[in-house]
């Protein structure tokens, strides 16, 4: 279950309603999707680092779980450098690869945009406990509880699936089919996991029903979910970051509207 444990839960940001955390990332994501320039995304990254540091979440920015962001961003940028639209001076050419001034600019913008959008999403999501998120979805957004709690229950099974996967691999070795090529072996093992997970899922559903889940009574809520001034402030901070990035990009003349 360590995969799903929330971090930074005691900080001001960590204690906010998970729905507000997700909502706070929306304005910036929209703004950055509308432009392809390095200035807006670069400004966003600088502001994000400052804000997360100030919020006491600095450690999460460089954690193992955020590493995927720092790796995926430059990789996406590199592919644009090698294969992106050619423009200006061409520095290097080899087959389909053309590294030009234009493709380098696109690459930098792409890398920065991927990081700027993914970093707050990943960091904020790491501070969200799945149970609290489900409470937010059902109580703040009033999504149907059957689906929200069903999904939450399924999430808890992830830890068991990892144990099952391991046991399946060992069992295959014990049964004499562990020497096969990796692809057919993993396909077979994945099918085995699918069968087991369906069985685990239906057992869990029975256990939930055994405790009255799905009874024709309005559910009550053991945990109170707040959505107050602090949540509005958090979303406002997200909106201000987005606005600053747009203003800086337009003022510096690098705003590059993708639909224009």
């Amino acid at each position: 279950m360590s995969l799903l444990d929330a971090r930074g839960g005691t900080t001001w940001v960590g204690r906010r309603n998970p729905v507000a955390k997700v909502a706070a990332t929306v304005p910036l994501s929209l703004a950055l999707l509308l432009t392809l320039d390095p200035v807006s995304a670069g400004t966003a990254i600088v502001l994000e680092l400052l804000l997360f540091w100030a919020a006491g979440l600095g450690a999460l920015v460089w954690s193992r779980r955020t590493a995927v962001v720092w790796i995926a961003g430059p990789l996406a940028g590199l592919s644009m450098v090698l294969y992106g639209r050619t423009g200006g001076t061409v520095y290097f050419e080899w087959g389909l690869i053309q590294v030009s001034q234009g493709s380098i600019e696109i690459g930098l913008s792409t890398a920065a945009r991927v990081i700027a959008i993914a970093l707050p999403a990943v960091v904020l999501f790491l501070t969200i406990d799945p149970t609290d998120f489900a409470d937010g979805l059902s109580q703040t957004l009033r999504l149907p509880e059957r689906f929200v709690l069903g999904a939450l229950g399924a999430l808890r099974l992830v830890g068991l699936f990892m144990d099952d996967w391991r046991a399946l691999a060992l069992a295959r070795r014990a049964r004499g089919v562990g020497d096969r090529w990796i692809v057919p072996r993993l396909v077979g093992q994945a099918f085995g996991l699918l069968v087991l997970s369906i069985r685990r899922g239906s057992k869990l559903a029975t256990a939930m029903e055994a405790r009255g889940f799905g009874a024709e009574i309005a559910r009550s809520h053991a945990r109170e979910v707040h959505f107050g001034g602090a949540e509005v402030v958090l979303i406002a901070i997200g909106a201000v970051v987005a606005a600053v990035c747009v203003v800086v990009a337009v003022a510096s003349g690098s705003w590059n509207f993708i639909l224009g």
Partner: protein, 489 residues
Amino acid sequence: MTRDVSRAVTPAAVRAAGWGWRHAGRRSWAIDGLDLGIEPGERVLLLGASGSGKSTLLHGLAGVLGGEEEGDVRGALLVGGRPAAAGSAALVLQDPDAQVVLARVGDDVAFGCENIGVPRDEIWPRVREALDAVGLDLPLDHPTSHLSGGQKQRLALAGALAMRPGLLLLDEPTANLDPAGVREVRDAVDRVTRETGATLVVVEHRVDAWLPVIDRVVVLGAAGGVVADGPPDAVLADRATELARDGVWLPGRRLLPDHDPRPAGAVLLDAAGLAVGRDPSAVVMGGLDLAVRAGNALCVTGPNGVGKSTLALTVAGLIPPVGGRLGASAPLARGADPAPHRWRSKQLLSRIGTVFQDPEHQFLTGRVRDELAVGPRAQKVPDAEIRQRVDDLLVRLRLDRLAEANPYTLSGGQKRRLSVATVLASRPDVLVLDEPTFGQDATTWAELVGLLGALRDEGHAIVAVTHDEQVVDALADERLDLAPLEVPA
């Protein structure tokens, strides 16, 4: 903490009149023509052969059998005078892992209360009371993933109690637990039913653990309907023969004679200073010296979490040792590397066979017959001989009538027999088994342990991880106890 749970519970009566249930798509009824009355506050042990519909009855009383798409119902089934429906009774099931719904202990106990609409102010006092009643002294935000099997079952019980049911239903609640876990859960049930006066219906093969708690035994017949009903002592004495045939563990009855240790056989595997763990950073047990000998059985015992299963996987050559030495002697290695974990999967087959705790983890095909042929086929045994071996094993393990069935559709006892048969098909010198008798009724138990004894006498080396003292008595030439038993205070 005040235990005022009792004030709020109204013990419920149960009445079945000509009640029956049939799963959708099946021709025969899982249970039919049941007439049964249980008075409020009675504590009933429900017995019967597998397939007599005990679980179906409990699921029916708890209202979790599902609607018309799931099956057909006839007759009447009443709880507290009203037709049984979701929320009319609380049900605790066999598998500890399948019943944890939420990540934190407090939230998990509160889940049932939320479902039946208990106001928030009332939920948390109920949660604390219920945890107190089952003796789980843990913070409310304690992660449920860190609980032992016995603790998980007590958590499920607390979740059920917090709903303040007039009827508490337990479906083999202790079948998957070690002896300490069995006592924990049994004592918690005893305490709370005495305090609340709630009606109790429990299904369990191991009768002796539950005798102090119950005051009535009801035996269901294979054809549906009650075949015996009355005070525990009278029913168990009058019906001893039938109950034993149905796989019920009768108190004080020994199923197999004790085994007299045989002379030590040739060493096949030996370990010195062995340390085991799932990965090198997590050593669960170290400094072990042991020898696995041909024609001898080694039983590994010890409390949950001490590393018995990890040791079994290591000895079986499935995971590498994290320290010390584990080596196969020349008669077992037969030219292969002395370290079993370096053997290829195919080399392992004819040398060491492993029976996993959960048989479903090791099934690979959709047919019992094909399942048995997997090993010999990988060993390139000629087709005619594979057919011969498979047919012999089907008969020997009483699976011949199920040869075309899908392994996943078998009963618990049949799955266990099949998982042992799949290993025997490859004729390994060493058999490693992890809790082979977990959750089995007395009939399957006796067959299985008898078979392992026969294999030992034929010259196989047996390594069995078990918490079952009777397995040790009937099988072991040597015992490795991984932690001294705690002296009760």
